[in-house]
């Protein structure tokens, strides 16, 4: 596992003030196993935010 490559990729993106979400963008450029892991995390984050929006949109006050 080339953990240094992962560190460099994330640091570069952070220093370049990369637009969010970082993970989704990084997933395409990371080496091997990290790309899969970043992709999973990005998908999960996306699903969570979708769920949150749905909950917010449906949780309307009675009045």
């Amino acid at each position: 596992m080339e953990i240094r490559e992962l560190e460099k990729a994330i640091r570069r993106a952070v220093l370049a003030d990369h637009p969010k979400p970082l993970l989704a963008t990084l997933a395409g450029s990371l080496p091997g196993e990290f790309a899969l892991a970043a992709g999973t995390l990005a998908n999960r984050a996306q699903n969570q935010s979708v769920t949150k929006r749905v909950v917010q949109a449906t949780a309307k006050p009675w009045a």
Binding site: M1, R4, E7, V14, L26, A37
Partner: protein
Amino acid sequence: MLEELRTEVRNTIYEYCADPYLRDAALHALARPGFALNGESHCRAGILSLEAYRAIGGDPGDAAVQAAAAIELQMESAFMFDSVADQEVDPDDGLTPAEELALAISLLSCGNAAASQAAHRIDPTGSTSWRMQQLHRSQIEASTGQFLDASLQKFDHATLDQGLEMTSRKAGGLGKLSAGLGASLATDDLEIVGLFEDFGSNVFTYLQLVDDLRDACPDDGHESDLRQQKKTVPLIYFYDYLSQRAPEAGNGIIPTLESDDAQMIQREFRQCGASLFCAVVAETFLNRAKSNLADLENLLGTVQNLEHLLDAIEAGSQEVLSVT
């Protein structure tokens, strides 16, 4: 299954720690938060051992439960060593660091005695030595990780490679011995036992990375690993980031934090990408564990119980790993 496991832990202490002063101290220590006899504890190591056994050999009998209790005692022994190493022995527990260490060694020995007896009960006429050899090798791996952890603390600088190696040996070694012992009681097939060991190692390394991320710089007022300058994976990333931002501190040397403002430090930790970094590494180990399960499914037919275990572990970690 948890209650059965806790009862067996208690029985093991009564059987092997007969002297009342040692027995009472052990039972008292095992009731601490996170320890086997505490009602809130997940007993993950013991449960992993039992589920590994179940995936191969069906319902675990008394010997498999005894082995799982042995694993729990070895796990608690490691926790107690950590509390001494981190100078976190709580005086409220009524033990000096020397007593804590002596108790840790007692629990480790107690676990070994119980594991040996469990192996003999499973196979009374065969040789149990290979199973114990496997167990001891994993214990030595975990101890190597503990040694590395203690060694890294005396240096100003640790590399990410060192941090990850320490984590995967220390936590991974404990996962390896947990799943490996359960599996070795159910089969003599070394390929299957090896796959279970890999699975346990990857699961526990994942869990440790999740813990390290949670404890690095918490915003709930708990004592942070950062304040103690621990050399965990997310913090080594953070130290490197701070060093590069302040080159006069020297590459990799832990710089003095500019502020004691906890909120500012937390913000800086989040912004530097340390959480992202650690989450990706943790997820990589989780994916490896899933890949081990796929291999085991090919060999065993079904590993549904282990899939459920992994799902529960993954679900419990999502809040910490929630990064974008």
